[in-house]
């Protein structure tokens, strides 16, 4: 009994000292957004001194199976890390407008011609000055590669150098997203002289013009970056060094933020903001993204009722995307059409044909198709919030008399089942797209012949493909908005891939350690886009 009392005493003392260690309380999200300028979630305080080491934590490393070659990078997590060392001709601003980066400015003599005036004094991290040949060589290399981004660049006919400071790109037909596509990491300017003479292999070495150079990388453990002393933008980067820890467990990232081991961390669970509420000196913000969840319906599985467009349309009608956003994403996502919500010129999801119909219309369509007792399996990966999204889908479809069985698996098993063979061996599956920074870009993935990954479960729709191509040619403005509306309506009727809701990103940082800049909305999933502006207050 004496031992028990002693144990209780020790426990009580520990709890008391623990409670005394609690920090001050800050309100999440709102505090972050109030202090920032329009379009920004947070804006770095430029009056703070430069220098210091910035410790960050992210949940996943770059997809290194293809090496460090930015042209072969096809996931946002890789773009994010490579963007610290590589730069593109243009970039995107907080409102998704295209802004100069390595190109000081550009002219558009005709809808198919772009002349880029290169910034002077830009050097690669090895000290060599960037030339027009590097730009031309990089773009030609990208166009000749197996990169998925090749398709996003559009119908490029030729790339030529006009003297030392100019590069001309000629398209075979107008393509409005061209500049926006140039603003992402796969279109980065590479050191082509070194690549051509084989002194640098971009698969194993990062050599760009960006603000940081890699000192050390251990796959799935950490990255160590130091400032690029050759960086053209004087005064940047503000922090001398970046240490990025790969921490797959969300709870570990939250702990690192709270104890100060990390100054900034990306979070995936929509409830993490609530978990961090009350944490001293930690500010949490939700960065809206153009990424969105979508439902894949396998129309190629032999004997599947999902091959019938009426059945797929009934499913699209029965889904309540607002409820998915509210319940599964804690109100932080937004319903979307195939043009990501939040992008200028994107379709209004409330104006989609399926949005105007009711559950009774869905039931009628199912009856017409002879599928009143429709039942199928929804295959999902276990990463949150996919299970929550799936549960809301299950409940929505139950209203229309559709029975959904949820099959949850790890990501590798899920990938194998969904993308492993053609025709694919699943009924329905849940995934998400990077939404990019132009409303027409992601629509290309609705053409399986362009996208490739969906040939196993999706039939090409010629009419939809024609509309997607037509929207790509229309110059920005009312005519393009109209063309995109037609694309959205046709994809809505096709319903082989049904867009659901946008996928927000949660970012948390310590206010006593860091003053960062963050866009309020991000198109290429790059939370670290403005990290060169971040000011370190203290390093632990």
């Amino acid at each position: 009994m004496r031992n028990l009392r002693l144990a209780c005493g020790v426990a009580a003392a520990l709890l008391a000292s623990a409670c005394a260690a609690t920090g001050t309380t800050t309100s999440p999200t709102a505090a972050a957004q109030q202090s920032a300028a329009p379009g920004y979630l947070a804006l770095a305080d430029q009056s703070l001194p430069s220098g210091g080491t910035l410790n960050l934590q992210v949940h996943i490393d770059s997809g290194a199976a293809t090496g460090y070659d930015p042209q072969l990078a096809d996931v946002a997590t890789t773009w994010q890390l490579l963007s610290l060392s590589y730069e593109t001709l243009v970039t995107v601003g907080p409102d998704f407008s295209v802004q100069p980066l390595l190109a000081e400015k550009w002219d558009t003599p005709s809808p198919t011609e772009y002349v880029f005036h290169l910034r002077k004094g830009v050097r690669f991290a090895n000290g060599r000055e960037m030339t027009a040949d590097d730009v031309v060589g990089s773009l030609k290399r990208l166009l000749a590669s197996k990169s998925v981004w090749r398709g996003q660049l559009g119908p490029v006919k030729s790339v030529t150098a006009d003297g030392d400071g100019e590069v001309k790109v000629t398209l075979s037909e107008p393509y409005t997203p061209f500049l926006t596509a140039l603003a992402n990491v796969p279109a980065a300017v590479l050191p082509m002289k070194e690549i051509d003479d084989k002194s640098v292999d971009p698969a194993t070495t990062l050599l760009g013009t960006g603000p940081y150079v890699v000192e050390n990388h251990r796959q799935d453990v950490s990255w160590a970056f130091k400032r690029n002393d050759q960086y053209w933008n004087k005064g940047k980067p503000a922090a001398d060094a970046l240490n990025i820890t790969i921490a797959p467990e969300e709870a570990a990232r939250i702990a690192a933020l709270q104890n100060g081991s990390a100054a900034l961390a990306t979070l995936g669970n929509v409830d993490s903001a609530t978990m961090l509420a009350g944490a001293g000196n930690v500010q949490v913000g939700t960065q809206a993204t153009t990424d969105f969840y979508y439902l894949m319906l396998n129309s190629l599985k032999p004997g599947s009722k999902l091959a019938d467009p009426k059945v797929r349309q009934a499913i699209a009608i029965a889904l309540d995307n607002q409820q998915i956003a509210d319940v599964a994403l804690g109100g932080q996502g937004k319903p979307t059409a195939i043009t990501p919500a939040g992008l200028p010129g994107a379709c209004d999801p409330a104006a989609l044909p399926s949005a105007a119909k009711s559950v009774d219309d869905a039931k009628a369509l199912l009856a017409e198709a002879g599928a009143q007792d429709l039942s199928f399996t929804l295959t999902i990966f276990s990463t949150e919030p996919a299970p929550a999204v799936a549960q809301v889908i299950q409940q929505n479809l139950q209203q229309a008399g559709i029975t959904v069985k949820i099959e949850q698996m790890d990501e590798a098993s899920w990938s194998g089942k969904v993308y492993g063979k053609a025709p694919a061996d699943f009924d329905a599956a849940l995934s998400w797209f990077a939404g990019y920074a132009d409303p027409g870009m992601v629509t290309k993935w609705w053409n399986p012949e362009t996208a490739g990954f969906n040939v196993g479960f999706m039939k090409p729709d010629k009419e939809l493909n024609t509309l997607i191509d037509a929207a790509g040619k229309e110059p920005a403005g009312p005519s393009r908005d109209q063309a995109l509306t037609a694309v959205c309506a046709k994809a809505d009727a096709d319903a082989q891939m049904i867009p659901l809701v946008t996928r927000p990103a949660t970012v948390a940082f310590r206010t006593d350690a860091l003053s960062p800049s963050l866009y309020a909305t991000e198109g290429y999933g790059n939370v670290l886009r403005l990290v060169a502006d971040a000011r370190v207050k203290k390093t632990q």
Binding site: N3, L4, L14, S17, A18, C19, A21, T22, Q57, G63, A64, A65, T66, G67, D74, V75, K146, V148, R218, Q219, D220, V221, S222, T245, A247, P248, E249, A251, A252, R253, I254, A255, A256, L257, Q258, N259, S261, A262, A279, M409, D410, E411, A412, S413, W414, S415, G416, K417, V418, Y419, G420, A451, G452, F453
Partner: protein
Amino acid sequence: MRLLMWWSGRALSSAATLLGVSVLIFAAVRLMPGGFAETVLGPFATAEQKAELAARYGLDQAVFLQYGHWLSAVAGGDFGVSMISRQPVGAELLARLPVTAELTVLAVLASVLAGVPLGVLTAVRARPEGGGAAGRLLSGLGVSVPEFVLGSLVVFVFSRYALGLKVGSWVPLTQDPAANLATMILPAAVLSVFSISVTARTTRDAVMGVLVEPYVTAAVGRGESPWFIVRHHILRNAATPVVTLIGTTTAYLLGGALIVEHVFNLPGVGSYIVQAVGRRDYAVVQAGVLLAAGVFIVMNVLIDLLVGMLDPRLGVMAGRRS
């Protein structure tokens, strides 16, 4: 001669065990659902790229050929190349081994330093009519709570109330020993809970068994002090099952490290294997499991030697009794 025969026998049985493990793990990773190509290369990879990947790592060959190549390479000390990092697996395992070794050593130390005294204490104080319900309850809890539950709880609590300990980060021992210890104490504590409980329980049973031996009664009759009796008569005679258990538990702790390292974000062998399983990085999983099996076998040999030193009747030189 007898020693030579013993060593030869152990070497042969160890080699056979490792061979069996190699077959099992090689087959198991290939039976896992989910294609390595989709996982490693992502959804946008073309059929040509997938074929190229398979050819690069020899995964387009017949399975028995793949096994043969892998086994001969492993025999030569080459554990292959990770499909994810494209780096040699052996080098990465070596780089991560110190983290797992430190974690395991700390957990074993905790097991011995806490488990043995607890076991002795509860045995010495046990009443003839039974009792010690609190002790049994605690050890029962310690044995039954899985590491991922306890680990998650500890991460949650200590992320709020750090008490000078760090969760979610790691500092190399060579860089800053004090900071390293601050990051390793909690994972080691979580990892050791099971083994402390089992060690305490086994020690208690072993000590209680020795307590009724005539030589203990004689020592009491001679008026020897309780501490002297515990130290000279009880501990030594009760040590055999405890030492065997600690050795076995050490190997078990390596398994527990898989979960604990992942939960606490420690860059050890365990988290390497967990990530590799999730990504179907075959070479890493195979090498990791083989390494764990090797450690287990070595630990067993060491236990046999140690037990023989503690009690020559059970040692390798003891020979057979019929």
